[in-house]
Symmetry: C2
Subunit: 143 residues, 2 copies
Amino acid sequence: MKIVPEIIQKLTEAGLKITPQRVAVMQTLMKLKSHPTAEELYAEVSKTIPGLSPTTIYNTLDTFVDRGLVKRVKTDLDRMRYDAITEHHHHLYCAISDRMEDYFDPELDRILSDYFTRKKINGFNVTDIRLQLMGDFENKAKQ
Amino acid sequence: MKIVPEIIQKLTEAGLKITPQRVAVMQTLMKLKSHPTAEELYAEVSKTIPGLSPTTIYNTLDTFVDRGLVKRVKTDLDRMRYDAITEHHHHLYCAISDRMEDYFDPELDRILSDYFTRKKINGFNVTDIRLQLMGDFENKAKQ
DNA sequence: TCCCTAAATTGTATTTATTACAAACATGGT
DNA sequence: ACCATGTTTGTAATAAATACAATTTAGGGA
């Protein structure tokens, strides 16, 4: 729970007012590594903030995305998910179990970055490279 | 329109009955390069098949995806889209204009394939690598 | 510290995409 | 041509997300 000051700093830097709802949403997003949906977040954050409105979850997430504090993630299978990790990373995704995990690989990033510095795409200016690695998890306990 | 026999062959190979709806949906998907949504497809296919039910679009697309004739594509921004190109490719995507285009790059595929042959990810078995290149289109007339 | 204003939250009502399902129909093998 | 099975249709239901007006709250300035 000592991450709260860090969250407050984030929100302040983004020019947002500090509200219990926002702190709790961000806290939950950072705690969960499962790229939760708005609904899952609502369930989780409601434990902390009983009267919470689902609308607040949507509003808050939209605001966070606007300010770059949170990223949206979508798979080919299901609904919108959210991710508090803004550091550059990719995703491992298994369509069968609908399970998604983060994947960090600076070496890969370097290779891709080099590649697209060299190779220009006609009429398109690349600003970000995102990989979705499809495959199967070798049944480590699910997320 | 000479692609119809080709479509019939595809459907037959996939063990599906040939219906005007299916042929029209596939034809439209192959014609449009815009990764249309179900709704856009409904509008377009309705021109050919007036009585068409939206449910048929969803059913047909689900069936096609099941049989591997069509791929689902999602961006971080909007609803489900469909793509009749099953050949391996990536996507260029501009979040501002919500515009998406296909991107083919065998050289890149080779590099990535080599990389993941060499580099194993703990607990995950990669079967497909998909890139989403985020950026801006230099305003060529939009799709 | 209190007040005030802008910003945030709430709750309800809607919209919109998608799915469920049962009845009617069409396809393709025999 | 017939029949069984697969397909389409239409309606109704579900579910996610949004709009909006009313209420409440945060936090800077007096």
